[in-house]
């Protein structure tokens, strides 16, 4: 029988929740890396025992952790005193921006809040995206926004510099939460195609494995911009894709839920009858590419659900028509948020949907959103939720 493993990153450590296919009884382990901010924890699709984690701290900076046994034990890649052959030591947390003329246009500044240019400064890894085919290859989206890749299991990192160097980089500007590259989507049918998204720059795509990039924000409208339909500057919160249909993308923007049917070349709004179209997360049912999920949040000034009722909304037609899908979720005095990387789906026959809140709850719907129950309820603020379906 299949089982699931939920990887939870929080403000004060990481947790792992395991359950059998029924997804009713959970065994929670952790905290791992207690006291550290765990921005993201994600397993390799090519080897489920290989898991990467981003561990950060204002005191000690960035660390990358890796597990090769499904999250039971962890090590810093290249952190052992005795180096393995060919392995660089002490480099797994070295994210050095590439400003060389050989690999991209030298780019050292972006737009600051006051409109002046500001140096690019590494702060942390927001998102880790393991390769679909190679357990040793993993991408990292970082703040200040850039995309890095490791091909040695996280031991060393190299920037895909042409993203920052493609031309619009000096116009990128941080949102209130920083200028982070938070979304990385790998095309399962075309290994050279990658989508990324940055707050608050927008969405970008490469079709040549990262050698060149272009903004993919046509159709987005952001009234906080001097030009609301500008090529870049949009605060994209998250993008989701169904792996069997990589040309179709769904986006939760700062405001507006959007859809693209041409791989991001153009977007149209599908907020439909949502009670509010502000939010952070969005995801797609594992077996129904037109069934999507969002958690509406009241507004950009009030990051909690409407009327204190935690609600998931589900659409069966790719947006446009939405239904309240919140059975089992708290409907009184609930003022939590659900952050952009804190929703995931499993691939069990009856698709499970998961999300975590800033109040420390993690919820699971083992039936595609028909009903919800807590996985655990008293964790530190949840930053990320990922799930692995284990055979």
């Amino acid at each position: 029988m299949s089982s699931v493993r939920v990887l939870i990153g929080t403000r004060k450590g990481a947790f792992v929740a395991n359950a059998d296919g029924k997804r009713q009884k959970w065994n929670i382990t952790g905290p791992f890396f207690a006291g550290w901010e765990m921005y993201h924890v994600k397993g390799s699709p090519a080897d489920p025992n290989r898991i990467y984690a981003s561990q950060t701290s204002g005191w000690f900076g960035q660390l990358i952790q890796r597990s090769d046994d499904g999250g039971k034990t962890w090590d810093v890649p290249g952190g052992a005193p005795e180096p393995k052959a060919g392995m660089q030591q002490g480099q797994s947390n070295k994210f050095q921006y590439d400003t060389s003329a050989e690999t991209g246009k030298p780019l050292t500044t972006h737009q600051w809040y006051d409109g002046t240019q500001h140096p690019w400064e590494f702060k942390r890894v927001w998102h880790l995206e393991p390769s679909l085919a190679d357990p040793n290859t993993v991408y990292a989206g970082v703040e200040d926004a850039a995309l890095f890749r490791s091909t040695d299991g996280g031991t060393s990192w190299h920037e895909l510099a042409s993203l920052r160097g493609h031309g619009t980089g000096p116009q990128w500007q941080p949102g209130a939460g920083g200028m982070g590259l938070h979304t990385i989507i790998l095309d399962p049918k075309n290994p050279k195609r990658i989508w990324i998204a940055i707050s608050a720059a927008g969405a970008f795509r490469t079709d040549d494995g990262g050698a060149s990039w272009k903004p993919t924000n046509k159709g987005l409208y952001s009234k906080f911009l001097p030009n609301p339909t500008a090529e870049v500057g949009h605060c994209v919160h998250h993008i989701a894709m169904h792996p069997q249909r990589p040309g179709v993308l769904f986006m939760q923007k700062h405001w507006d839920v959007m859809r693209s049917d041409d791989a991001g070349d153009t977007w149209k709004e599908v907020s439909g009858n949502l009670p509010t179209d502000f939010g952070f997360v969005i995801d797609v049912h594992a077996h129904k590419p037109e069934t999507i999920y969002v958690v509406p949040i009241k507004s950009d000034g009030e990051h909690f659900p409407l009327e204190g009722k935690l609600k998931v909304f589900r659409s069966h037609n790719g947006g446009t028509d939405w239904e309240d899908s919140s059975q089992g979720l708290p409907q009184n005095n609930c003022y939590v948020n659900v952050l952009r990387d804190a929703m995931a789906v499993d691939s069990m026959d009856d698709c499970g949907i998961y999300f975590g809140t800033t109040g420390g709850q993690v919820y699971c719907s083992p039936n595609g959103g028909d009903s919800w129950a807590p996985v655990t309820e008293h964790l530190p603020a949840v930053l990320s939720v990922e799930v692995q379906t284990l055979k």
Binding site: A34, G35, W36, S57, G58, W59, F60, G61, Q62, L63, D75, V76, G78, G79, A80, P81, P83, Q89, G90, Q91, N93, K94, Q96
Partner: protein
Amino acid sequence: MSAKIVRVELPAHLRTLAKTGTEIRVEISGPVTQRSILDALEAKYPMLCGTIREHDTHKRRAFLRFFACEEDLSHQSPDTPLPEAVASGKEPFLIIGAVAGG
């Protein structure tokens, strides 16, 4: 010059990261300075690289301090010889995290 054994105390989170006890000892061949201690520490515990001082620039991370013999040595040159009590192992070199946060 014979090697010296220097005592170093790490903040709790770095002890966990390095999988060590409260106090660790490193061997220094030349002058005992902040730089030579941190070089030896990072060689013995590579997972600490970048957590106490920045890669490449070796600039001390902002929320960490270096204390020894009841003195704050954080703003001294990294190449200034440390007090003899540290070099002789009588007193530990303390790496301290700022008291902040929640």
